[in-house]
Amino acid sequence: MTNPKPIIQVDHLTKIYRNDSVETLAVSDVSFKVFPGEFVAIMGPSGSGKSTLMHILGALDLPTSGRYLLNSQNVGLLSEDELADIRNRQIGFIFQAYNLLPRTTALKNVMLPMAYAGIDPRKREEIARHYLDLVGLSDRLDHTSNQLSGGQQQRVAIARSLVNDPSILLADEPTGNIASAQAEEIMKIFKKLHFQGRTIIMITHEPDIAKHASRVITMRDGKIVSDHLNGRKKP
């Protein structure tokens, strides 16, 4: 059923934060694989280490020990610039707080990753319009981020995460700041993307949101406590 070659392979991943003399074990010996086309929800109470794990998967943070392979490439061995390229081309990251550039139009926000990728400026706008259309915002292209509602901002952020055609989408509580009616809109987009064959990993603590995923991983105290496909136990 699944492709034998995983997009993500995590082996014995551990992250320890040191703050003065206090050590915090955020992620503890976590191992799992994600295969192309999967829609994985990571659940768990706050402080369970899911956000830290997500940052490591997004190449925004490095593990203390363990190995993280993205498309068979060991991310831990890459230079700072190579990591920047990974973040730019292979990962689409969607933040809980949207993180759009303030006072900048939706169109320009969506075009930004393409500027860092060195895509021809004339093609950028075409691609950005396409993805803004996909998230249903083709009538808001010239609105600046502060003129958009939370749900609309998150849809701009989703469009932005897609423009460089990444191999995986990482969403860190994408509906956490959004009213439930608009959250449903967001989830519809995620389901559409999943249906189109995109691989998605999403953090959430709401079972209502997690039920849209095809696989649910639950974490507690930095460890994976369950990992099953929605509807049936993972073999």
Binding site: G58, L60, Y116
Partner: protein, 407 residues
């Protein structure tokens, strides 16, 4: 991301906070503006002094008596009385000296001058007619001292325009009237044209009388205070200096040139000294202006550091979206260079206007040189890089996840 894209984006970013951008730029405007103004006034004065000295006569050599000794005490330069009219005539007629045109023996003293109720203290020059040729004197009315005046010991005087103003008032023509120098009456036969001099060596604040009259009637001396000699061309100045030097050593029976009782100065020597003085003046002024430029630069750095702190989250986001360290460094450097370059260009324009206004209002000469314009723009760009460097590095060093978490 290409440089021009970063530049366009930076203009947009700077435009978002116009007041802050304006204040940061203001520091550079003041700095560059004052540098340009002070340099152009400094260079203007330098050029004015140079052309003033040159207007005293081109190809000019001046022989002056050396300093005399009384006992072992060396007296003031020029205090010797060893230079005589005979020396001047011998120089003029000597077949050994082939590189000169005219010889002008001169005796100058300060004296009180009275005309009616007015009086002034001015420099009296006892001269030959050659003085007018060698020093390029032209007359606005009347005649200069003639050979006949010198031979006849006549009591006639030619006045500089400043003396006319002092004694007779603005616009008066005193030719034909009399003045009293040292209690003796002199008839005014001419007024010279203004040479626009200033300071202690004002070529307009002088009175010319025949040399013989000055020596015998006025001051009772038989020596000269200087002999001005015009060389045939600027190229033979050194030759002329040597020929005259050896001739006078021979005439004064001095074998060691080090103990010569006279000195020969060329126009160039005087020019060099004068431009050294005005050069120091210019440097000093620019130094003061440079300090304000430095302060402006620190202002830019301050603003850029505030910007980096304020935009920490934005930097984190850009890195999360794939911006490389170099791209972030370039972005912040470009912003600070734009600030300083805009400041530099506006400051340059204001500096040019200010130096033109100052030279009009204060009657100071000013020269706006291409050098100072290039300097201003170049320096402001460099200041942008120097003071933008540290904030840019700080921005680029931020770890994406920590920057994103920053509140």
């Amino acid at each position: 991301m290409k440089l021009w894209e970063i530049i366009i984006e930076s203009f947009g970013t700077l435009g978002l906070n116009k007041l802050r951008t304006g204040l940061a730029v203001l520091g550079i405007i003041i700095g560059i503006g004052s540098v340009i103004t002070l340099i152009s006034i400094g260079q203007g004065s330098q050029q004015a002094v140079t052309s003033q000295i040159q207007s005293l006569g081109a190809n000019l050599l001046t022989v002056m008596p050396g300093s005399s000794r009384s006992g072992s005490v060396r007296q003031a330069f020029g205090s010797n009385t060893t230079l005589t009219l005979e020396d001047a005539q011998a120089i003029k007629t000597s077949p050994q000296i082939t590189t000169i045109n005219h010889v002008s023996p001169e005796l100058s003293r300060r004296s009180q001058v009275i005309a009616g109720k007015n009086n002034t203290n001015t420099q009296i020059y006892g001269v030959y007619p050659e003085y007018a040729i060698v020093h390029k004197i032209s007359l606005s009315s009347g005649n200069f001292i003639s050979q006949g005046d010198v031979q006849g010991l006549t009591k006639v005087a030619v006045l500089g325009p400043q003396v006319v103003v002092d004694l007779f008032g603005e616009g008066a023509n005193p030719v034909g009237q009399t003045i009293r120098i040292n209690k003796q009456s002199f008839r005014i036969i001419g007024v010279t044209q203004s040479k626009g001099g200033t300071g202690f060596n004002n070529q307009d604040d002088v009175i010319f009388v025949p040399l013989s009259t000055a020596q015998k009637q006025l001051f009772g001396v038989d020596y000269l205070s200087s002999i001005a000699i015009e060389a045939k061309s600027p190229e033979v100045m050194t030759d002329a200096q040597n020929e005259i030097g050896y001739f006078l050593l021979d005439r004064h029976k001095i074998s060691d040139p080090a103990s010569a009782d006279f000195m020969i100065m060329s126009q160039n020597d005087i020019l060099n000294t004068a431009s050294q003085v005005t050069g120091t003046f210019t440097t000093l002024l620019s130094g003061i202006a440079a300090i304000s430029l430095l302060v402006g630069g620190i202002g830019i750095m301050n603003i850029m550091l505030v910007t980096v702190t304020e935009r920490t989250r934005e930097i984190g986001l850009r890195k999360a979206l794939g911006a490389k360290r170099q791209t972030i460094v370039t972005q912040f450097l470009v912003e600070s260079v734009i600030l300083t370059l805009i400041g530099g260009i506006i400051g340059m324009l204001i500096g040019i206007v200010a130096s033109l206004l100052l030279s009009k209002l204060l009657n100071l000469p000013s020269v706006i040189s291409l050098f100072s314009v290039i300097l201003a723009v170049g320096v402001s760009g460099v200041i942008g890089i120097i003071f933008g460097w540290y904030p840019a590095q700080r921005a680029a060093r931020l770890q994406p996840i920590e920057a994103l978490r920053y509140e």
